[in-house]
């Protein structure tokens, strides 16, 4: 609640006794350690990767887009990229809607909120290796799910080495990230002034109308952050996938991360550099599109005011 009241204050800062130049200098002083590290460990080496992506493996022969062509024509790359895209397109909408609906519900009952938050955040704290074992115990060919199905005359399946592995991984991702997203949604929800709901209720708005016309529009920023963090965590599901089924899992969950990892093991630096550059361009493109859209929206909002 108090954050809401502060917002106009942090819009623009009026320098009192300080010239612009000093402000710039202090800002960069605070940033310096981070800039040095990011520059030295990520940014400059990445420029090197960019340069190498146009060169041949041995020596310094310029091959133009040769490496890129090899990667794009590589069958493993096509499958891995397809799987990764499919995973992201399925898991993020699923996680966002699930966590939002749980958050909307949990928000109404203050008594259970604490318990729910604790329980739902808990999976984040468990070691990945032990989580992988639990999932293996359930979904393995000789595991509990099949044991259970056989009790009822079913046949069971090899969940981890067939197309269903994809859904096991989705379940794993949702299970792990539900709490984090729920907390984000709850914060966004509680920042919406109660009076708006009361006013609408007086006018007779139903639950759905309240959600559609009051809640959703004011959650825009939360949607952005939650989506972004869920996207980051979607790549991290590799840990579980790797511990569940190793370097070469079922082809339905063979992701870009597996491919990069295997390329690294065989020191296939050329392919890695080209693929890394393409991924950075792709993600950068998506991000800048999103930023552009966000700026447009903010401008519109300001005009309305």
């Amino acid at each position: 609640m108090w954050m809401k009241q502060l917002r106009p204050l942090r819009r623009r800062r009026i320098p009192i006794s300080q010239s612009k130049k000093t402000e710039y200098r202090t800002a960069y002083l605070f940033l310096l350690p981070s800039l040095l590290g990011v520059g030295g460990f990520v940014f400059l080496p990445f420029l090197d990767v960019f340069r190498r992506s146009f060169l041949q493996a041995s020596g310094h022969v310029f091959v133009g887009f040769g490496n890129y062509r090899t990667v794009l024509q590589n069958e493993a790359f096509q499958r891995a990229a397809g799987n990764t895209a499919k995973f992201i397109l399925v898991c993020i909408p699923l996680l966002l809607t699930l966590s939002l609906s749980i958050a909307v519900f949990v928000q109404q009952s203050k008594t259970y909120q604490k318990l729910m938050k604790t329980g739902f955040l808990l999976p984040m704290a468990l070691p990945v290796a032990s989580v992988a074992v639990c999932f293996k115990m359930i979904f393995d060919r000789h595991g509990w799910l099949n044991l259970f199905l056989r009790q009822f005359g079913g046949k069971g399946a090899d969940w981890l080495s067939s197309d269903s592995a994809f859904w096991v991984l989705i379940a794993c991702y949702v299970w792990k990230n539900l709490g984090y997203d729920m907390v984000l949604w709850l914060a966004g929800l509680s920042a919406i002034p109660k009076e708006q709901y009361d006013a609408a209720k007086v006018q007779g708005a139903g639950r759905w109308a309240l959600f559609r016309y009051i809640t959703l529009p004011q959650l825009a920023e939360t949607i952005f952050v939650t989506g972004l963090l869920s996207f980051i965590n979607a790549f991290r599901v590799f840990r579980e996938a790797y511990l569940l089924s190793g370097d070469y899992p079922d082809k339905s969950i063979y992701m870009l991360q597996h491919l990069f990892n295997n390329w690294f093991t065989s020191l296939d630096i050329q392919k890695m550099t080209a693929a890394a550059v393409m991924l950075v361009l792709l993600i950068g493109g998506i991000l800048s599109g999103e930023e552009f859209w966000k700026n447009c929206r903010e401008k519109k909002e300001e005009q309305r005011k």
Partner: protein, 306 residues
């Protein structure tokens, strides 16, 4: 947006006194959803209970239950939630005669501690700069920081390898700690916490003659406490469970953290592995329960407008 009040109001009038029925329906809906959520909660928590319970299981019993899955034995897994003969043997074994476990535990502590210390020194001031100052290049830098935070480890793996190889840090603790401490995710999470620090306080301090560094130390840090704890807890969970980084940059098994050691012994000695899981769990859980409020506030602040 202004329209819905009127239409909804008309609807209610036409329905007359069906309010009671509606309320009952709603109560039923809430009850069913509540029950469903409780079931989900049980699913969320059960792996933890399973790990705790199985760490007290003897190795013979564990073989009976998990052998078919974990060690490739014949037959099906057995289903059992609680050990039939609880024992502390595995705990004794891990404490008395598994030196590799201690090495890996210690490695985890050093690597995680190093990363957290680094993140505190690097990311906190950076987030303060992004939250409180205007400077040329800010938008471009912020975009780059966001991009870097999104990129999965595998994309930056090559560049990391190239630089670590060049400065001869491959296969050392520094290969894990240095790239980890410059992660830009904590900067992103923390920025909004700092942006929410009231301007008035800062301006007052400035009028009183405090310099920027002083303001950061005695206003920014205390008021941003929740966010700072949140990034440290998240950083802890991330590096305590690190798999990709040590797998890529550490060749010598003696340098491996517990997160890599654990999957290794899981196949060979399940009872030892469950106890090791327990020991790995405890610091994470303690931190989690004592810091949960901060964690929540920190996560929450990152999702608000700013």
């Amino acid at each position: 947006m202004r329209n819905f009040g009127r239409t909804a109001g008309r609807k209610r009038k036409s329905k007359g006194n069906s309010g009671g029925v509606r309320r009952k329906k709603r109560q039923l809906f809430d009850g069913v959803t509540g029950l469903f959520l409780f079931l989900v909660l049980v699913i969320m928590v059960s792996p933890l209970l399973l790990i705790v319970s199985y760490s007290f299981m003897g190795s013979g019993e564990l073989k009976e239950v998990c052998g078919a899955v974990l060690s490739g034995m014949k037959g099906m897994a057995g289903f059992r939630f609680f050990p039939a003969y609880p024992t502390l043997r595995a705990y004794v074994q891990i404490l008395l005669d598994s030196p590799e476990f201690f090495t890996s535990f210690w490695n985890s502590c050093i690597q995680t501690g190093g990363i957290l210390l680094g993140q505190f020194l690097v990311a906190v001031p950076a987030a303060w700069a992004f939250a409180n100052f205007r400077f040329p290049g800010k938008n471009v830098l912020w975009f780059l920081y966001m991009l870097l935070m999104i990129l999965p480890f595998q994309v930056t793996m090559v560049s990391g390898y190239l630089v670590l190889n060049k400065i001869h840090l491959m296969d050392t603790f520094a290969a894990i700690i240095l790239p980890g401490m410059f992660s830009t995710l904590p900067v992103f999470i923390l920025r909004k916490t700092f942006a929410a620090v009231p301007r008035e306080i800062i301006e007052t301090a400035k009028v009183d003659g405090a310099d920027e560094f002083r303001i950061f130390l005695s206003i920014g840090l205390p008021l941003g406490k929740a966010g700072i704890f949140a990034i440290l807890i998240l950083g802890f969970l991330e590096s305590w469970n690190a798999i990709e980084q040590p797998m890529t940059y550490l060749k010598t098994a003696a340098y491996w953290p517990m997160s890599l050691y654990l999957p290794q012994i899981m196949e060979k000695n399940a009872s030892l592995a469950f106890v090791a899981s327990m020991i790995m769990l405890v610091p994470a859980l303690l931190l989690f329960f004592f810091g949960q409020d901060y964690l929540e506030q920190g996560i929450a602040a990152s999702g608000l407008k700013g």
